[in-house]
């Protein structure tokens, strides 16, 4: 088969990529290190101090909490689904997870405001103090709505990969359930688990629309909101380059997280072949 054809087929994609992804990224890098037309590190410094630092830490905290709690809850739910004997239930839950994992953003915020907002339907019933939704834990609670289904989708195939023969073999050798999980189950699941945690972290870290629509930005500092503020503010002028520096920080953090994810993901798929 002709060699050049490989490049030819991939050429449109590569050209597209270079233009549509490469140019904005280059602009981002250039702008992050420029201020008033001169190269400088001031933007980067500003992006890591004061309100911006608070926002970065806030984002990492929210994402970490969402990732860990979502992972635990999602794994339990996935296990319940996978060990259920009803195919209909499995199908329903997996379909629902497929929908909800992709459904975030603005409508999610509206649902929760209607439910647990200050004049929400349920907050009156539960006697919640005003403003409870617009807090760190309120945001985490809302973010779980797409995080738990995402974890279910990641863990269900992995849990399916736990062959029942292993369980039987372990039982025959006198292992208790605890032993089984500790020495067989969890090690096998660990790559998928870690991969799921990383995926959840990335999704929560990058989330913007939900937090913006909830108006939580006034009390929960998030770096995505800060970037949007710097780009479209009515208060401070000329903050675009700081927004780019903040974006660069975000990409670095997301990159580090992803660098952990990819090898883990490859390992987990290899296990399940």
């Amino acid at each position: 088969m002709r060699r050049p054809a490989g490049w030819l087929g991939a050429l449109p994609l590569l050209v597209f990529y270079a233009f549509v992804f490469g140019i904005p990224l280059a602009a981002l890098l250039a702008g992050a290190f420029t201020s008033r037309g001169e190269p400088t590190l001031a933007n980067l410094r500003q992006s890591l101090e004061g309100g911006n630092l608070t926002a970065m830490i806030g984002s990492v905290q929210v994402s970490a909490v969402v990732a860990l709690s979502g992972a635990v809850l999602g794994t339990f739910l996935a296990y319940a689904v996978v060990t259920s004997r009803s195919a209909a239930l499995r199908g329903a839950v997996l379909t629902a997870s497929g929908v909800l994992a992709n459904f975030g953003g603005v409508p999610l915020a509206f649902f929760w405001v209607a439910t647990l907002g200050n004049s929400g339907v349920v907050s009156g019933l539960l006697g919640l103090p005003s403003g409870s939704l617009y807090s760190f834990w309120g945001l985490v609670f809302v973010y779980l709505y797409f995080s738990v289904p995402l974890m279910v989708l990641v863990m269900a195939p992995a849990l399916d990969g736990l062959r029942p023969q292993w369980r039987e073999a372990a039982a025959n050798s006198g292992a208790t359930a605890w032993h089984y999980w500790r020495h067989v189950g969890l090690p096998v699941l660990t790559p998928a688990l870690l991969g799921g945690v990383v995926l959840l972290f990335g999704a929560a870290f990058a989330a913007y629309a939900t937090a913006a629509a909830m108006g939580a930005g006034t009390v929960v500092p998030l770096v995505t909101l800060k970037i949007a503020n710097a780009l479209t503010s009515d208060v401070l002028v000329g903050q675009e380059n700081v927004a780019l520096a903040l974006s660069l920080d975000m990409i670095v953090i997301a990159g580090l997280v992803m660098a952990v994810y990819l090898p883990l993901q490859r390992r987990s798929t290899r296990w399940l072949r």
């Binding site: 054809a5 030819l8 087929g9 101090e49 004061g50 309100g51 608070t54 926002a55 806030g58 907002g117 200050n118 004049s119 103090p129 005003s130 403003g131 617009y134 760190f136 108006g215 939580a216 930005g217 006034t218 009390v219 929960v220 500092p221 909101l225 503020n229 780009l231 479209t232 503010s233 009515d234 208060v235 401070l236 002028v237 000329g238």
Partner: protein, 382 residues
């Protein structure tokens, strides 16, 4: 991979599409009115050869492109309609929820396009920075000399148009008694009820709310920290509601007390009355903060004559009175009160304020904004 015929067909198609969307930016072309006047460089009605010549030139252009003008903000809805019907010029009002930064962005990104905004209504800092960046065209409206110094750029790059005080709006049916000062807001009966019009680090009205609180709490134009501390206190006693006020949230009962510009709050009252809400507006007695917005003409406006006519309209008694009808205080108000062109009923309907406003300098405002942006998150989330 594809047959030669398919390849050539594809290439031709691609070339057609590309060339269709090709072309350099149009060079500067002035719209010539009668007598060969270039509307782009006209700095006053006299440059057109008189007001009527300006109207002619504007009518020839036939369109005006505006941005960030919500219909219920200082009565812009009626202003736009009146302008359209008086001069027969169609106004395209785009993106009413845009911020001042969005407006400046639109000017920069759409330079030379037909959908660039012609005129801008900006927060003060943005007017100043835009002028410094050379985005605006100088133009002196006919009433230019009557506008007080300090409320206009000397060559007319930007001119203040209307302003208002920070006020406390309150649903009297749900809240009794309605707060009339910042100190009142800390009362225990207002748990979870006091809201701002957005995030102070992003929304101009919310920033002004914090600034006004600073004055109320013993700070000054140089010291916004007491304002930040006030809101921290408000949050600690549980009265602060982070939800951004909109007519929908007020109607729902989610934000029965709202700190916002007085013209915004006052405009809610007739809007909400049919829904059974009694919306009252009070300018806080302990923290008065007055701020004006500014009009500017895009230097590369696609409809330069219409843009200048729009300015003339806004600064005519009719235009200024329409602002007044929207509960905003027009810049020419003291002048109009003296020569009797003011709309008395509208003036009487304004929320009551005692005394004259004091204006911070640009440096003070900029410093306060910096201080707020760096300190707000830590204070309010901690």
């Amino acid at each position: 991979m594809f047959t030669p015929r398919a390849r050539t067909a594809g290439a031709i198609a691609a070339l057609t599409v590309i060339t269709a969307a090709c072309g350099a930016a149009p060079g500067t072309q002035g719209t010539t009115a009668e007598g060969g006047v270039d509307a782009r460089t006209a700095t006053s009605a006299a440059d057109f050869g008189g007001f009527d010549a300006l109207v002619e030139a504007a009518k020839k252009e036939g369109r005006l492109h505006v941005i960030a003008l919500p219909p219920d903000w200082a009565n812009y809805g009626e202003i736009i309609k009146t302008f359209e019907s008086t001069y027969g010029i169609t106004i395209e009002s785009e993106d009413p929820d845009a911020s001042s930064a969005d407006e400046i962005n639109a000017v920069k990104t759409r330079k030379g396009q037909d959908r660039a905004p012609d005129v801008l209504d900006l927060g003060q800092s943005f007017a100043l920075s835009g002028a410094a960046e050379g985005l605006f065209a100088p133009y002196k409206v006919q009433a230019f000399d009557k506008i007080p110094e300090g409320q206009k750029e000397p060559t007319g790059l930007w001119v203040n148009d209307y302003g208002g005080y920070i006020s406390i709006g309150c649903d009297a049916n749900k809240i009794n008694p309605c707060p009339t000062s910042f100190a009142d807001l800390l009362r225990p009966g207002y748990k979870g009820k006091v809201a701002l019009n957005g995030n102070p680090t992003k929304a101009g009205a919310a920033f002004a709310g914090v600034y006004a609180a600073a004055i109320a709490e013993g700070g000054s134009f140089d010291d916004i920290q007491p304002g930040i501390d006030f809101f921290k206190k408000l949050k600690d006693v549980g009265n602060f509601n982070p939800v951004e006020t909109t007519p929908a949230t007020i109607e729902k009962g989610e934000t029965p007390i709202s700190i916002d510009w007085d013209y915004i709050n006052a405009a809610y009252a007739p809007q909400l009355a049919p829904k059974g809400l009694d919306w009252q507006v009070n300018v806080p007695t302990d923290g008065k903060y007055f701020q004006m917005y500014a009009q500017a003409i895009n230097k590369d406006a696609p409809h330069p004559a219409a843009a200048r006519l729009w300015m003339e309209f806004l600064y005519s008694p009719e235009g200024q009175n329409l602002y007044l009808k929207g509960f905003a205080r027009p810049v020419l108000m003291p002048v109009m009160q003296e020569d009797g062109t003011i709309d008395e009923t509208a003036a009487a309907a304004l929320p009551e304020v005692e005394g004259e406003p004091a204006f911070p300098t640009t440096e003070q405002v900029d410093a306060a904004k910096e201080k707020l942006v760096s300190g707000w998150d830590a204070a309010i989330s901690g």
